[in-house]
Symmetry: D2
Subunit: 242 residues, 4 copies
């Protein structure tokens, strides 16, 4: 197993940006890759520090790419044009520099909480780059998240990213879906005690109606925490790998 802590100067974000990458020992020229996104408050090392990512990368013989999210909600905003950076700079940079395939059938995106939102958003908007999406306990409705007292994100921080009712509306996953009509394979899970469980059920109903057999709901127990995610990440990566 090779672990790479990469840091490169990005022109989009005007700073050095960290991505942690795990590559199996099978010496391929072009690995299948999972872009694995973290949640609010976490960083590029969080997945490694909570879950045995290397063992899973070896088990499924996939590279796993964990970029820092900078609390930017994987969205373009005035302070951090994160979405554009991710699609236009990060993906080609990593695929060009490391032995990572750039074919859509080899690129999958997954994430948890804010990263689950990011996986759905980046995935749906880029079917020519990404073929499978796994959303773990995603922020399924950003307006509800904004107003939920259990949300860890301060209102003024949220409002610097989604700075108008129109921007909130345009960035709802359901509206993004309706705009592009993607037909990728999607897996969704959300613990039955998660404070965003209801919003996830609404999204589930919408997506299974639209995607039919391409949609998979994984029913799991638990709350919005690493206890839930560490129990299910093996199954999620297995679904992406098959």
């Amino acid at each position: 197993m090779t672990l790479l802590n990469t840091s490169f100067r990005t022109n989009f974000l005007h700073t050095y940006f960290k991505t942690t990458v795990v590559i199996p020992d099978t010496d391929k020229a072009n690995y299948k890759a999972v872009w694995l996104l973290h949640g609010y408050t976490a960083d590029d090392t969080t997945w490694m520090r909570n879950v045995n990512i290397e063992q899973l990368a070896a088990k499924y013989d996939m590279a796993i790419i964990m970029p820092e999210g900078r609390n930017a909600f994987y969205t373009d905003s005035n302070f951090i044009p994160y979405y554009s950076f991710f699609v236009k700079e990060l993906m080609p940079k990593i695929q060009g520099m490391l032995p990572i395939s750039d074919k859509p059938e080899d690129n999958y995106i997954a994430g948890v909480s804010m990263g689950g939102y990011g996986a759905l958003k980046i995935g749906f908007l880029n079917p020519e780059k990404i073929s499978k999406i796994a959303a773990m306990s995603p922020v399924a409705d950003i307006e509800h998240f904004r107003n939920n007292e259990k949300s860890p994100m301060p209102l003024n921080t949220f409002d610097t990213i989604f700075d108008s009712p129109e921007k909130i509306k345009d960035n709802q996953i359901i509206n993004i879906f309706n705009q592009v009509h993607p037909d990728q394979k999607v897996l969704q899970l959300c613990g039955d005690e998660d404070f965003m469980h209801e919003d996830n059920i609404v999204l589930k109903k919408f997506l299974e109606d639209k995607l039919n057999d391409n949609y998979t709901w994984l029913p799991v127990k638990g709350d919005h925490s690493w206890t839930t995610w560490s129990k299910n990440i093996d199954q999620v990566l297995g679904w992406l790998a098959k």
Copy 2:
């Protein structure tokens, strides 16, 4: 020499935050400390990667603390309440966890460019915590910096931090000084070919008039780059240490 890459979860910034710290081998219980701030686009490792910081820490027997700045201009904003974080969380955390003195006479702040602005701002506003300030090629006038076509910072990013004419005005170094009337020792330098040289001369005249013998201007050649700063950092740290 001990090098520490620290990462801790901050309640102010709602994320993990990195600080690189260098501690000499003299086994003191309470080192004098230089809080060394970086410029726009850099991070907590930039000083180490451009200048022989460890050799200088050993030479002057001081700890050097290099926090990441996240392009936040060392200022409170909706997205990143950096200034409050620095003063209320970072300083006590580092002083409490590491063998760093918390006495003002042992704490100095220095920085380059945006970090030079940060050093003057954080220093002037906290004379009970910090006794000496060294500003290398600081952003001496943030309004001019905003409008200068040579500035590397996009307007929309700048405007998320300084989001009104009043906020710009309140955060000008000269206005901060006039508000608190600090009497710390201040060193300022700026290369003669720096694109912010004129603004630095204005600030120089203001500060030498206010601070008299407590103010030192170090005349240096060069532009706004590491070539200039690497030539002068030894002298700057020596001035802080004496």
Copy 3:
């Protein structure tokens, strides 16, 4: 939670040496500490990459200190005087620099495989520094380990550390115990399918006879792998913390 990647120049080992440290957020001046040793082929980051160490450090409110072992078997040899380094340089350095208690009642040592051997050895030889020992799947008999075809360690590497029959004999855990007659609390576990299970049973019988109520055997299932250790580390740290 604070994560520290420390690197310092050691006079014993004549090189820079890495130790990963995790400190809870409870802002104590002197944390109880677990010195957590890794096995052959691993390094200072291995525990973090396989087990949710930070969650456990928070759960038990203890600092966890994970030094790199450099395949040195936690033993003094001509190439690497590791044991002396650990006791005379690493422990005082870390206890002096970080908020770690230096009282024996607050310092515990644990490890897995080669690190389980190290925990027993360093622990037994230093009752004035360490009060509890947890050995997970330890190399319980180094001579058997040397000659076991399932051992991952090449003979010539082993023989540079234990370079005579006398040195092997002197460094057997049972002989170390008989030499110093320590009376610390000891926990031992070894999976029922571990290739060193038999040697562990011999050591178990010896230690429970000598230590009586101070000795605890934790019967577990599994082989010599992280699958076994990740299942049991919570219970091991819980035993140390109580």
Copy 4:
């Protein structure tokens, strides 16, 4: 500029092994590479921490690869078969995984002190992999180094690597050269106050006699320290790049 801290499990060394790599931003598929070796007591981060390596990598548009040396003298020994690891595992691994050319005309090796010895040794023995060698203040005579009271390396450590008079003899740079008669380009420098200056002059006379125009001696002032090396590394990398 991209900075990569890589760590991979090596089958030769039976452990995780760290290599720091710097890659310019010019997005090439196959960069020219300098394998840059450190001296006794240093590690894979030492070059970055003492010299502005990234600026130089950009200036000469070359990747710079800095593996940890583990005090192994870049030589096969019972404890660490470093030489075999470097040639058979490290070079193909890095060239296969990163955008580094594997052509000999694109691969250069350089080093300082013990790393200067390593550069000469690995370079001379592998002309089909490496076309230019730069030795900065190399250990030019390992027997003299062993017996020199100014040497930082303990005798017993040295003797675990070079464990017989024959092994010392076989590993002298002059004898390695005579064995393989390489005809690569070689640059050598050594400060006039270096404690190994005389040995360097002997090697200089030998190599200029054998290599003629392929040999370059760079006369420099200074002692055996980073003060000397930081002044000259720009010129050394420039010589490799031209």
